[in-house]
Structures are given as structure tokens and as C-alpha cells.
């Protein structure tokens, strides 16, 4: 039985329980994620991090949340009040919705009912996630616009431009997964990875997805929308109290969300790593959830690691990278994957495939060498002579000014 067939037999109350579990898990994961991030980044900077509230500081983010909720809730006079209130709600709800199609476990028994921990399995599950992520952008752009203030507006614009452009690269990186698995349903994609993870088979796609998911979630080094030094707080500058907490929640749930999607699409989802398949039947199938969360936690650690290591990118470089590197590379890779797929489906001999691969490698090398040559030429070309300015310049010490 496929996941879709199992899920079709779910009674309504099971679906409700799953929804509640997803919500609870996301909120708890957010609290843990904030704590883990602060602790890990602190360790990377030779600090202990929050260690006062609760054992190892575990309750720090909970107490921060309570503090945030109890703070005064300000709405600026210049704000568009209705949209100002709706924006964080859009952000916070959409990020949860993406989890509906993520399969967290294999077959398990929940209250005596055989099911899988996945709320629903729609044939275009991954497209649904992308669509929901796009709706989430509304939260950001509306928050920036409705604040009636300059910095939030700039932050919101940056943020939405960033999310939209990296969504293109993200969507393109997923195309090869669709081509290989022959499905857009998350559970089918997981099932198709029983032999090889797509992170190995479709390594370039995986790399592009990994980069674009950092851009998509507005995280360092792509956290231009929240560049404290340039934009105060970005789109949420004017937000306080619970509304700010909602944005905070949305950010972290988004991180967990894209990590969960990456796990599902590239790391074999809830399946155990190769060689540990026997663990999948432990605890009546619930053990698969542990594998799932270990993989998600691995992605989260990479998020934190990036933040602890890399400086923030400049906005134009960031956009250039997205549009001029990631997207063309994605397109080229899709071309290659599609051709290989068609070749193998038509039963072309091994030599045919090898010849094609050889041609691809040759093209890549040629382009690489050409790029290097251009770069070298640029480097060696003499620096253009700058003429003297025709306006008055202040005199340098010990030097007569030319224009006095």
C-alpha cells in the first residue's frame, strides 16, 4: 500500500491529531532551535551561550517568548493597521502549512489506527510546498509596506526580492528530482530513494537546493533583509510583542520546513541511512521519526555553521549569484538530467550514455577555462589612468593644492 492509499483511510480525528502534533512539534522545535543556535554560535565564538534559565539554558527561549508576549504591543501611527496585524499572521500560518505534506515516519500505529505521520499526500505535494512558501512572502512584503516607515519598506522589498529570486533556483533544482522519481508527491519521492539518496545521484541539484534554501529563509550569509547595520531590523523593525514573536516563530519554522523538505527530497526522508535499515521497524515504525529528525537537525546545524562562519553578502553580489550563477547552472543541469533520463528510457547502450557524459564534461571544462582566461586578462590589463579632477579638492598636508 502506498502512503496515499493509507492516508485515504484516515478518519477525521486522526487527521486532527496529526495537525495538532505537527503544530506542537514545530513550536517545540522552534524553541529548541533558537536555544541550539545560540549555544552553537556561542561555542564557535568561545562563549558558553545562554546557560542561566533551566538546565543548560534550555528554557531560555521559552522565557524570552513569555517576555515577548507580555511586552507592550505598539502599532505605529503611520501604519496601515489592518494589514499591519494580518502580515505576521500570514507569515506564521504559511510556514506551518508546508509541513502537511512532509512524511515524518513510515507506517506506524497511532491510537490503534494504521497510518503514516503525514497529514495528507497530494500528487503535487512539492509544488504545494513551493506555493505555500510563495504566499509566505506576502507576510514579509506586507509587513514592510504597512509599517509606514522607510527601513521596514526597504527590508521588506529586499526580503521579497530575495525570496522570489531564490525560489526560482530552488524550484529548478527540484525539477531533476521530479524527473528522476517520476512524481511530485513527497512520499513517492521518498520511496524512490530506497536505493540511492538523491543527494548522491543528483549532487548538483542538492547543492543548489542547499544554497537556495538559505537564501529562501533569509538566513546568514543571505540575511540582507535583517542587516542590522543597514536596515535596523528589516521588515519587522516596527513590530513588537506577540506580532514580532510570530515573525520570529515563522523564521525558525521556515528553517525547519526547508530542512525537512531537503531531507525528504534528497536524504531519503524518514528512511534510515544505508546499512541501518533494520532500525526502521523498531518502536513499531516510530523509530523512523528519529532518523528524520536527525537529518533535519543536521541541516539545522549547517544553517548555524554558516551563520557562525560567513560574513553577510552584499546585496548586488547576492542577486548576481542567484540569477547569473544558480539559475543558469540549474537549467544546464536539468538539460543534462533530462537527456540522460530519456537516453536510459529509450534503452540506449552504455557507450551512448558515456559519450553524452563525456561531451557534458568537455563543455563544462571548456566554459571553465574560457572564464579563467577572461579573468586573467582582466587582471593583467593595465589600470586606466585617472585624469585630474576638474573640481576643487582640499589640499593634502605638505602639498600645494592645484585649485585654490
Amino acid at each position: 500500500m502506498t502512503n496515499a492509499e493509507i492516508l485515504a483511510t484516515d478518519p477525521g480525528w486522526i487527521i486532527a491529531v496529526k495537525g495538532l502534533l505537527v503544530f506542537a512539534a514545530c513550536v517545540v522545535l522552534t524553541l529548541l532551535a533558537i536555544w541550539a543556535e545560540r549555544r552553537i554560535v556561542a561555542r564557535m565564538q568561545e562563549r558558553p551561550g545562554p546557560n542561566r534559565v533551566g538546565p543548560l539554558g534550555l528554557l531560555q527561549s521559552l522565557s524570552d517568548g513569555v517576555k515577548l508576549a507580555l511586552k507592550e504591543d505598539l502599532i505605529p501611527a503611520a501604519a496601515d493597521k489592518i494589514i499591519f496585524v494580518i502580515a505576521p499572521i500570514i507569515s506564521a500560518t504559511t510556514c506551518f502549512m508546508a509541513f502537511a505534506v512532509i512524511p515524518v515516519t513510515g507506517q506506524v500505529t497511532l491510537f490503534g489506527h494504521k497510518t503514516v505521520m503525514q497529514m495528507t499526500d497530494i500528487p503535487v505535494g512539492v509544488l504545494y510546498v513551493l506555493a505555500i512558501a510563495s504566499v509566505g512572502v506576502y507576510g514579509i512584503v506586507l509587513a514592510g509596506w504597512s509599517s509606514g516607515s522607510t527601513y521596514p519598506l526597504l527590508g521588506g522589498l529586499r526580503s521579497s526580492a530575495q525570496v522570489i529570486s531564490y525560489e526560482v533556483a530552488m524550484g529548478l533544482s527540484l525539477v531533476s528530482v521530479f524527473i528522476y522519481s517520476g512524481s511530485m508527491s513527497t512520499s513517492d519521492i521518498v520511496a524512490a530513494q530506497d536505493k540511492w539518496w538523491y543527494a548522491v545521484v543528483l549532487f548538483p541539484s542538492f547543492v543548489i537546493y542547499a544554497i537556495s534554501m538559505v537564501g529562501e529563509t533569509n538566513r546568514a550569509p543571505f540575511d540582507l533583509a535583517e542587516a542590522e547595520g543597514e536596515l535596523v531590523g528589516g521588515f519587522h523593525t516596527e513590530y513588537s510583542s506577540l506580532k514580532f514573536a510570530l515573525f520570529f516563530l515563522a523564521e525558525y519554522v521556515n528553517i525547519v520546513g526547508v530542512s525537512a523538505l531537503a531531507t525528504t527530497l534528497f536524504l531519503g526522508g524518514y528512511h534510515a541511512p544505508p546499512g541501518l535499515g533494520f532500525t526502521e521497524s523498531w518502536l513499531g515504525g516510530w523509530f523512523t521519526a528519529i532518523w528524520f529528525f536527525i537529518k533535519v537537525a543536521g541541516f539545522f546545524f549547517i544553517f548555524v555553521w554558516l551563520r557562525g562562519t560567513l560574513p553577510r553578502m552584499r546585496y548586488d553580489q547576492f542577486m548576481q549569484f542567484g540569477w547569473k550563477v544558480l539559475i543558469p547552472v540549474s537549467l544546464f543541469w536539468i538539460l543534462v538530467v533530462a537527456t540522460l533520463r530519456v537516453l536510459s528510457q529509450q534503452g540506449t547502450s552504455r557507450t551512448g550514455v558515456l559519450i553524452f557524459s563525456g561531451i557534458v564534461v568537455a563543455i563544462v571544462m571548456f566554459v571553465n577555462v574560457a572564464f579563467d582566461n577572461v579573468k586573467q586578462k582582466k587582471k593583467n590589463s593595465p589600470r586606466p589612468e585617472l585624469s585630474k579632477p576638474d573640481f576643487a579638492v582640499p589640499a593634502l598636508p605638505n602639498k600645494e593644492s592645484d585649485h585654490v
Partner: protein
């Protein structure tokens, strides 16, 4: 000396003929060089943290750290402060307030003529520069290493004389009491008074 202030000129560098060196941006280094950064942060995670967990662990201050002030005593317990107000005059932050008064035979707080009757240091103003300590002619005022001087009210941070006075150590008697037998203030300042004499005890 010329009338005009000349800009300071370096003898080593001829400013007018500095060689033109273009700033070359090499761009991103190799992938390996970039990964080294990741290795650095990863490795740092397993290092010992540098944080001093303050309220539990108190790192000792430097030996001559400028902390809370202290009004010292002579070995027999009489106060060293003579109420001269030089500390108050030296203070750049106007944090010290002193009122002196005359010593009498019945009420002797310090050897000599005068003693500090009121002595206040306002720690909301004090900048811990130590000029008061330099100004003090009798070494009555010194600084301790105590730095925990936080409070939640302004009035608590104006330290009175009794907050600043050094504690009575062995051999000291609580003033007021008469001077050491056959000693005058010169004897005291030369440090020739070892400790309180039984005759100094005031009968109540």
C-alpha cells in the same frame, strides 16, 4: 619657534612622491581556502570558553585596581583623616564632601587638631581616577579592590563615613579616645605608635 603651528611631517616618507600601488582585489580564494574558515569555526566549538561566569566565579582584580575607597586608621584606632578637604578639592567629578571639626580632649577622633566629621563619597559621580588618594596628606584615603558597587537607589550609593571607615583590627580601640601616652601627632605620622595603650581606654 615659529609662530605658526606646522603640521607634523614625517622624515621617512616623501609625501609628494609616494609610489602608486593599485589596490588589487584577488576575489574569492580557492574553495579549499574558503573551507578553512568552516574548519576554524568547527574547531573552535570544542575549545574552552573564555567567559568568566561572574556571580559564581569572581576573577581577582589587578593588584592596584581602583575600587571602593577606604578611610584608614592609626594602629591605635584613631582616624587618619584630618578633615582638610584636599581630596574634595582634588576630585574632578565633585564626588567627595567633607566637613571637618575640632578635636577636643573629651572627643578625640584623630591625633592633632582636626578630624573629618562628615565624609561622603558619591559613587554615582566618582570616576575612580584616584586623584583624591594622591591628594591625601595623611594617607587616610586609599582605595580597595572592591568593585561590586551596584545598587538600585541613589541614596544608597552616597557612602557615608561609617561605610568608608576601615574596620577595627586587633590592638585598635574605637575612637573617641585620647592619644597614646606622651605622643603627639608627629609621633603618629612617623608611625611610632604600635597599638593602643591600656591608658587610652575611655571609662564609660
Amino acid at each position: 619657534m615659529s609662530e605658526q603651528i606646522e603640521p607634523r611631517a614625517s622624515k621617512d616618507v616623501d609625501v609628494n612622491n609616494v609610489e602608486f600601488v593599485p589596490v588589487v582585489s584577488e576575489g574569492p580564494a580557492s574553495l579549499f581556502a574558503q573551507l578553512k574558515g568552516f574548519w576554524l569555526t568547527f574547531r573552535t566549538m570544542f575549545k574552552k570558553t573564555l567567559t568568566v561566569e561572574y556571580p559564581e566565579v569572581k576573577a581577582p582584580t589587578q593588584e592596584r585596581f581602583h575600587g571602593r575607597h577606604q578611610l584608614n586608621r592609626h594602629p591605635d584606632g584613631l582616624e587618619k583623616c584630618i578633615g582638610c578637604e584636599l581630596c574634595a578639592w582634588a576630585c574632578p567629578a565633585d564626588a567627595i564632601y567633607v566637613e571637618g571639626a575640632d578635636n577636643t580632649d573629651e572627643n578625640r577622633m584623630s591625633p592633632g587638631e582636626r578630624y573629618g566629621k562628615v565624609y561622603q563619597i558619591n559613587y554615582l559621580r566618582c570616576v575612580f581616577c584616584g586623584l583624591c588618594i594622591e591628594a591625601c596628606p595623611t594617607r587616610a584615603l586609599t582605595m580597595t579592590n572592591e568593585y561590586e558597587l551596584a545598587d538600585d537607589s541613589r541614596s544608597n550609593l552616597i557612602f557615608e563615613k561609617e561605610d568608608l571607615l576601615a574596620p577595627l583590627r586587633s590592638g585598635m580601640l574605637m575612637p573617641p579616645h585620647p592619644m597614646y601616652p606622651e605622643a603627639d601627632h608627629h609621633t603618629y605620622y612617623r608611625g611610632e605608635v604600635p597599638e593602643a595603650h591600656p591608658s587610652q581606654e575611655v571609662k564609660k
